[in-house]
């Protein structure tokens, strides 16, 4: 696991170094702040995705949940004039409900996670577009207080505009990440998630209530997606229902996979996921800064990097396994 973390961290550093050498704008305070901020937002989604991937599942609906929450939050506050004190709990409860629905369909109806969340992907975006008649939603100049959670830059190195200000979202991410890491590594439920990802049948034969744990994983994922969607819209102040959050699930899944969550389940570290999320953000930034004319093929570049990463990972795994087997056979 540690070797894997070092590997992905090294890739991140390499991409950073390359970009810094190729573009003098990379190390500008504003750019760094922006990178940290975006890493925080995508990190939250990726942690959610990681919980599902650890159990051997997949959630393709993350981007659409981001969209639905991101659209409903300003819509209910601005168009419907609801109090934010009601809207925020409502959209979060809706995210939880979405997760419960996914989990129930997967465990009780025995549907494929891929199919269930693919339908979710189509469904939630469609609903978001329907409710708003496809009109962009935003807070205008209102909800300043609420928006601070996503837009505030904390003057940790003094208030001079030239120095680095810590985006408030970073604090949010740190809290979410620490809670997630404690949950995964220090509670029996986290262990159960890892166990059922490792071998669901053996987990069942060990007395783990597998169905409940799977539902829990999808609830965590959808809830963090909803929470992330809230932060995204508070930050950007505008959500176009037709493309808000579009393909974010792919960034989240990619970050989780790069961070060491095997798609076969049973593995995962929260720190790895965060580094994975940072890598996704920096890669995108690199293309913007160094090769702006390649922006059209951003997905292709990201896809290629992930593929290479996963191939390297599999190769390393095989080499290690082969060595272990050889060592075992040569032992008396």
């Amino acid at each position: 696991m540690t070797a894997k973390l070092l590997g992905i961290a090294a890739v991140l550093l390499a991409v950073c170094a390359y970009t810094a050498l190729s573009s003098d704008r990379f190390l500008l305070v504003g750019n760094i702040e922006n990178l940290v901020h975006r890493t925080a937002l995508f990190g939250i989604l990726s942690i959610g995705a990681a919980f599902v991937i650890i159990t051997g599942g997949i959630d393709l609906s993350i981007g659409s949940v981001v969209c639905l929450v991101g659209v409903l939050l300003p819509y209910l506050i601005v168009e419907r004039d609801w109090s934010p004190w009601i809207v925020v709990p409502t959209v979060l409860a809706m995210s939880v409900a979405i997760g419960v629905a996914h989990g129930l369909l997967i465990t009780k109806m025995r549907l494929q996670p891929f199919v269930v969340t693919l339908c979710g992907l189509l469904l939630y975006r469609g609903i978001a577009r329907g409710i708003t008649f496809d009109q962009a939603q935003g807070f205008g100049v209102g909800s300043k207080g609420l928006r601070k959670i996503a837009t505030e830059r904390l003057p940790i190195f003094g208030s001079s505009p030239e120095v680095f200000h810590l985006p408030a979202t970073t604090m949010v991410l740190v809290i979410v990440a620490i809670a997630a890491a404690i949950f995964l590594n220090r509670t029996i439920y986290g262990r159960y998630l890892l166990a059922l990802g490792s071998n669901p049948e053996a987990a069942r034969y060990s007395g783990i209530r597998v169905d409940r744990m799977v539902i829990l994983a999808y609830v965590l994922c959808a809830t963090l997606a909803g929470f992330g969607g809230m932060l995204f819209v508070l930050d950007i102040n505008a959500a176009q229902p037709s493309d808000f959050g579009s393909s974010y699930e792919l960034y989240a899944i990619a970050a989780a996979v790069l961070g060491g969550c095997s798609l076969r389940g049973g593995e995962g570290s929260i720190l790895g996921v965060l580094i994975g999320a940072a890598l996704m953000v920096v890669l995108s930034n690199m293309i913007n800064l160094v090769h702006p004319d390649y922006q059209n093929i951003e997905f292709a570049i990201i896809g290629g990097v992930i593929l290479i990463g996963v191939m390297l990972d599999e190769t390393v795994r095989r080499v290690v396994a082969a060595r272990r087997a050889a060592a075992r056979n040569s032992a008396p």
């Binding site: 220090r186 262990r191 053996a202 060990s206």
Partner: protein
């Protein structure tokens, strides 16, 4: 004996259709078949019998081209051949009828019969021709159904005949049948035997694998007996009887392997009343276990031993019946409930259902006790460490706590699965094939441990296909046949013959 078999083929005046010479097969270091030779004449039924794991299926698979032998040679009509796949075998006229039928259930009979060899013109299937051919082969097996019938709408016995028709349509001269009657009714079996006799009279050779010695006695022209992957004897027409087959199948002396520790059983701890297992709901199972007793479940493959154990453990809920454990009487519903009541299962397939293969030894040992030892939802890491250290020492697991379970030897893996439950202080321990695929040393240690557990009052119920194990370990044995308990034998009544008699029905 092997040499004798080989020389008898040489003296036979006719050339056998099929002749296997000194076949051996190794799987990952395990010897499934060793130096087996046999031949089949044109138009004869050769039965192959043996206990579970005797190597029958492996031999059949090699003859049908499904697997390749590690060594040995094959002759068809006196010519040396080598099969690199099922297609090669089919080309030589050798077809395997699988135990689980290999038909496409949603397609019709004609399509199934001509599957992969459809009569066609310019890539279009000549449907009428396919149906005409299908009818011809359906007649050959005496099956009166339309070629347009969807296969899944036919009863299993008729599906089997479709499979045979399909094999004949490939011009098969040797049909290999692996337990063909295992899912047939009495009537369907009789029908099948008629077809087999008819085929034999037309010169088709049949290799017939069955556990049902009665059938073999009725049907076979010759019998070959395998044991532990080796040829142990052959019987010709006049010599075939049940006694002879059983004694060849089991004929070995109990080793000095089992140091029995006599234990006086205590009070009844488990009573199973009128339990109906979902896979076999027609038969109710009733029995009880006493503290400190070791009870074996014997039976042939498919007798329902594993299903009984997994139902007791709550993996598959029972359709009816109750389980009385201590002062509670309830239907077995879920695994956590069973564990809470002190009933635990070491399952048959370690890699599939026993071990968290990607996790380390410590996490495997502690997984069942995490809930009990939790501190308001948090892992109790010192308890986890203690369990791991204690179990590694107690069970003499030759691995570190941090080693990944998948990398352990079979014996150590089985000890880890056992250790997981020992940490939970079981009252009743169920074990399915407790020593399958593990080496002799670890076997002995596990037997030793089971005796110790019984000595401490744990009731032990184990299912095993190894006669030797059942007799060596059990205080009494429940023999299962087709989902029900066909009989119970006390230690003094237990013999391989008495067990086989009950198990073959």
């Amino acid at each position: 004996m092997v040499v004798a078999a080989a020389s008898s083929t040489a003296t036979s005046e006719r050339t056998p259709v099929l002749e296997a010479h000194r076949f051996s097969k190794q799987f990952a270091g395990i010897r499934a078949l060793y130096d087996v030779s046999l031949f089949v004449e044109r138009g004869e039924v050769l039965a192959i019998v043996g206990e579970n794991g005797a190597g029958k299926s492996t031999l059949m698979k090699i003859l049908a081209g499904v697997q390749r032998p590690t060594s040995g040679s094959l002759r068809v009509d006196g010519h040396a051949v080598e099969f690199s796949g099922v297609r090669d075998a089919l080309r030589q006229g050798i077809a395997l009828i699988h135990q689980e039928l290999n038909l496409a259930p949603h397609l019709d009979v004609a399509t199934n019969i001509s599957l992969g060899r459809e009569p066609s013109r310019f890539g279009f299937i000549k449907r009428a021709e396919a149906e005409r051919q299908a009818r011809k082969y359906l007649d050959a097996v005496g099956l009166d159904v339309s070629p347009r019938t969807i296969v899944s709408s036919l009863p299993i016995g008729k599906q089997q005949l479709v499979e045979i028709a399909k094999a004949l349509s490939t011009n098969a001269r040797v049909l290999i049948m692996d337990e063909p009657t295992s899912s047939l009714s009495q009537f369907e079996s009789q029908k099948l035997f008629e077809v087999i006799r008819e085929l034999r009279s037309r010169g088709v050779s049949i290799l017939y694998v069955s556990h049902r010695l009665g059938e073999v006695q009725d049907l076979a022209d010759r019998v070959v007996v395998l044991r532990d992957g080796q040829y142990v004897g052959g019987l010709s027409r006049g010599e075939i009887d049940r006694q002879r087959m059983v004694s060849l199948m089991v004929g070995r002396n109990l080793s000095q392997f089992y140091h029995r520790i006599p234990h006086a059983p205590g009070a009844e701890v488990l009573r199973v009343s009128d339990l109906r297992v979902p896979t076999n709901p027609r038969h109710a199972v009733t029995f009880s276990l006493r503290a400190g007793e070791i009870v074996g479940i014997a039976g042939l493959v498919g007798a329902g031993r594993s299903e009984l154990l997994t139902t007791l453990f709550g993996v598959t809920p029972a359709t009816r019946g109750t389980l009385t454990l201590g002062d509670q009487t309830r239907p077995p519903r879920s695994v956590p409930e069973a564990i809470a009541a002190g009933l635990m299962l070491v399952p048959e397939d370690r890699r599939l259902t026993g071990l968290l293969t990607a996790m380390n030894v410590k996490r495997n040992l502690s997984v069942a006790s995490l809930r009990r030892d939790q501190r308001i939802g948090f892992l109790n890491r010192s308890a986890e460490r203690q369990i791991s250290t204690a179990m590694i020492r107690l069970l003499r697991i030759k691995a570190s706590a941090e080693q990944v379970a998948a990398t352990l030897s079979g014996g150590n893996q089985q000890k880890v699965v056992l250790g997981k439950w020992l940490a939970m202080d079981p009252k009743v321990l169920l074990l399915d094939e407790p020593t399958r695929g593990i080496d002799v040393g670890a076997k002995e240690e596990i037997y030793q441990l089971l005796h110790e557990l019984a000595g401490r009052g744990v009731a032990i119920l184990f299912a095993s296909s190894e006669m030797e194990e059942v007799q060596g370990l059990a205080d009494r044995v429940l023999v299962m046949h087709e989902g029900r308990i066909a009989g119970e034998l006390s230690r003094s009544e237990m013999s391989e013959t008495s067990i086989m008699k009950l198990a073959t029905g």
